[in-house]
Amino acid sequence: MRVLLAEDDELTRKGLAEVLTTEGYEVIEAADGRSAIIAFDRQPPDFVCLDIMMPERSGFDVCRSIRQHDQDIPIIFISARSEEIDKVVGFELGADDFIVKPFGIREVVARIRAVTRRCYARRSEEPLQEFAMCDLRVVPSELRAWRGETAIDLSLRDVAMLAFFHQHRGCVLDRNVIFNHCWGEDYFPSSRTLDQHISQLRKRIETDPRNPQIIRTVHGAGYRFEG
């Protein structure tokens, strides 16, 4: 899933891009309003994160311009101006959500996941049906997994990875294969990135993370879902 991120403060933009990438999104960065519109036209994303106060063109301008091409694409505004008038104008322009500075990444993640669920809902082609892994029921359109009545929030990447394991149940998957599928080929993370990600995922989906049942480690080869 592709996200257009327009934010003039470089640190904020890089940080948000990292958060989004970790979540599993492909991020297109723009440092001002004009390049955001150009980037949007060149490569239409699945949703847009817009800072309001930007050089060249304001976030509101960008939003108006995008709405001329696409009435439905989810747009999240990021702003230091929490004034209601901004919110009203934003919602009138068809903003789906607001992230008010200063924010923590948990809030950003929560809001982005919510918007992603809406993206799935509006997409005509349903990407993935829900599937089961051991006692876990994974619902990709909700970005959630359920163990009984307990809901577990998942990132886009978590879902992609679980789906990949589910499709290749019983197979030992090499780290590079997983990497290429879930991160993309032009992404060069450190060697530990995948291991760390799986370790974090296990903490949430496994009943006992020290003795994983869903994603098992195959020493020297990679990981495997027994099925």
Partner: protein, 575 residues
């Protein structure tokens, strides 16, 4: 505050003025009565002069008609002379002798009076009962004496009334018992009397005013009242004005301000004094002026004192508002670096959580401080911005369906590290399980302020208890602690902006706007914030009027806050 003492002063002033006014009226009446007395003395003096003169003109050699007629001719005042013998019998003009024109005219008028023996009785002659008694006098003739019958006085005035008015007769009893009486020409004595009266009313008794025209001594002692603008009127026995003077023109129906009777011989006449309203009210006005100027002076002093206090207060307010305004301006600028601090601290925390637990423990603890402090800074900035919006009247809510309990859980989660550090035990009693329409950001801000206060002022109580419940269309949140509590007298004031329970510097953490914001946000929700009684510590109760959101099934609601704060299901949670 200022009105009450001023009203009291006005009332007292009014009383003083009324009393002063009454006293002034009394004094004016005394003064005018004195003036009338002076006039009366003038009249008395005038008639004493006449009497003196007539005493000598009635010293007759003989009592025959010729001698008497010569005496009448020699005395301009005399209209006619009457001689009575010792028995009171009319000796002149003798009815059986030929009479001249004047005598005939006089007798035509006075015959009855003479025949009745009134004059003789008045002059002290014992007259028999011959003739009719006085009460049966003929119409048009009334008699009055200034002397009682049988007195030893040798002369005096006899007054009788005839159609034209009062008639004066001066009588003198001679040694041989005869009585010689002089009827005085009415027009003459009246003209002389009027000539002897003043034509102005003397102002007062000051020596510089005691000119020849103001021979009357004024004993009243009042000065500066302006009696010269009054009017004095001499009125006869039937109420006809005989003579009047003074600048004032009274209304025809006006009642006299002061009145006195004239001494003998004009005892049936009256002297009236009229005082213009302006003289009384003028004095009144000057009193009022004095009182009002006095009150105004006191009022001004009070105002000045109030202004000094107000200035101090206004200066404090102004400083505080300037501080808010300034912080408001810089807050937006602060937000971008603050965002980066928080976000990168979050990212760092995430990185650390991938490391070996043992190695990451110390950095993680320190990072927690950075995160908490940046969150605290966020909250402070949020408060200032909310307050600034409230001051500009642009504070609005953005209500949407949600779960009150979720907002509480999420906010408490935000505080959990610092609550744990302060060793504050959190007790949640959440019973608002159905969705309601509130502004989640506003509710979070309310909770953040209330929990922040517990952290700041009541952490020694070791307990933070938060309860929610729904009652009809009202959501109720209570935040309770076991801290020092808030005195009853302060329970309203704490909601005032910039109000603190203690002004000691060491207690003065925070901006002093937290509770004001709590109340404002609650009131925008149609509810309120107040402090309720608890056995120990303090308990803030916030009510929010909210439509229960029946249109949306709970499952259909997006609950990002709840999920994000759910420790068991959130990515990147702390170990």
């Amino acid at each position: 505050m200022l009105g009450l003492p001023l009203a009291g002063l006005m009332w007292l002033g009014g009383r003083v003025v009324r009393e002063e006014d009454a006293a002034f009226q009394h004094r004016l009446r005394d003064l005018m009565t004195g003036q009338l007395g002076n006039v009366d003395r003038l009249v008395v003096t005038h008639f004493d002069g006449i009497a003196r003169r007539l005493r000598s003109s009635t010293k007759l050699e003989a009592f025959d008609a010729e001698t008497v007629r010569a005496a009448v001719r020699g005395e301009p005042l005399a209209q006619q002379m009457i001689v009575l013998d010792a028995q009171g019998k009319l000796e002149h003009p003798h009815l059986e002798e030929p009479l001249n024109q004047g005598e005939r005219e006089f007798l035509a008028e006075s015959r009855q009076m003479l025949l009745d023996g009134d004059l003789a009785r008045a002059a002290g002659i014992a007259v028999g009962t011959r003739g009719r008694p006085p009460e049966a006098q003929e119409t048009g003739t009334r008699a009055a004496q200034d002397q009682r019958p049988g007195s030893n006085q040798s002369d005096g005035w006899y007054v009788w009334y005839q159609g034209r008015g009062v008639q004066l007769i001066f009588w003198r009893r001679l040694d041989d018992g005869r009585v010689v009486a002089v009827a005085i020409e009415r027009a003459r004595w009246l003209a002389d009397l009027i000539a002897s009266l003043p034509d102005t009313i003397p102002e007062n008794t000051g020596p510089e005013n005691a000119g020849p025209e103001n021979t009357a001594p004024d004993a009243s002692g009042a000065s500066g009242i302006g009696t010269d603008s009054a009017r004095i009127r001499l009125v006869d026995s039937v109420g006809q004005t005989v003579y009047e003077w003074g600048r004032y023109q009274p209304e025809p129906s006006e009642v006299a301000f002061a009145e006195a009777t004239v001494s003998q011989p004009l005892a049936t006449w009256r002297l009236q004094a009229f005082v213009p309203q302006s003289l009384m009210s003028g004095a009144d006005r000057s009193r009022w002026f004095q009182v009002i100027s006095g009150i105004a002076a006191i009022g001004l002093t009070l105002l000045l004192v109030a202004a000094i206090f107000w200035r101090g207060y206004a200066q404090d307010m102004k400083n505080a508002l300037q501080r808010v305004s300034f912080v408001n301006q810089v807050s937006h600028e602060l937000k971008t670096p603050l965002t980066n601090i928080r976000m990168y601290a979050d990212l760092l925390e995430r990185d650390l959580s991938n490391l070996d637990e043992e190695a990451a423990r110390r950095p993680l603890t320190r990072l927690q401080v950075i995160l908490q402090e940046s969150q605290r800074l966020s909250r402070l900035i949020g408060n200032v911005l909310t307050f600034a919006r409230q001051q500009r009247c642009t504070l609005q809510l953005n209500p949407r369906p949600g779960f009150l309990d979720d907002i509480v859980r999420q906010t408490v989660q935000q505080f959990s590290p610092s609550l744990a550090r302060l060793n504050l035990h959190v007790e949640l009693d959440l019973k608002a399980s159905s969705p309601v329409r509130v502004d989640p950001d506003a509710v979070e801000q309310i909770l953040v302020n209330l929990i922040g206060n517990v952290e700041k002022y009541a952490s020694n109580g070791r307990l933070l208890k938060i309860a929610t419940r729904l009652h009809d269309r009202t959501s109720i949140i209570t935040v309770e602690d076991r801290g020092p509590g808030i005195p009853k007298s302060e329970r309203e004031s704490v909601f005032q902006p910039f109000y603190r329970l203690s002004d000691r510097i060491e207690d003065a953490a925070g901006t002093g706007i937290g509770l004001a914001i709590v109340r404002e946000l609650a009131r925008l929700h149609g509810g309120d914030a107040r402090i309720v009684d608890v056995e120990c510590g303090s308990c803030f109760e916030v009510t929010l009027k909210s439509e229960p959101d029946r249109g949306v099934a709970p499952d259909a609601l997006d609950r990002p806050h709840h999920r994000a704060s759910d420790a068991t299901a959130t990515e990147g949670t702390k170990p």
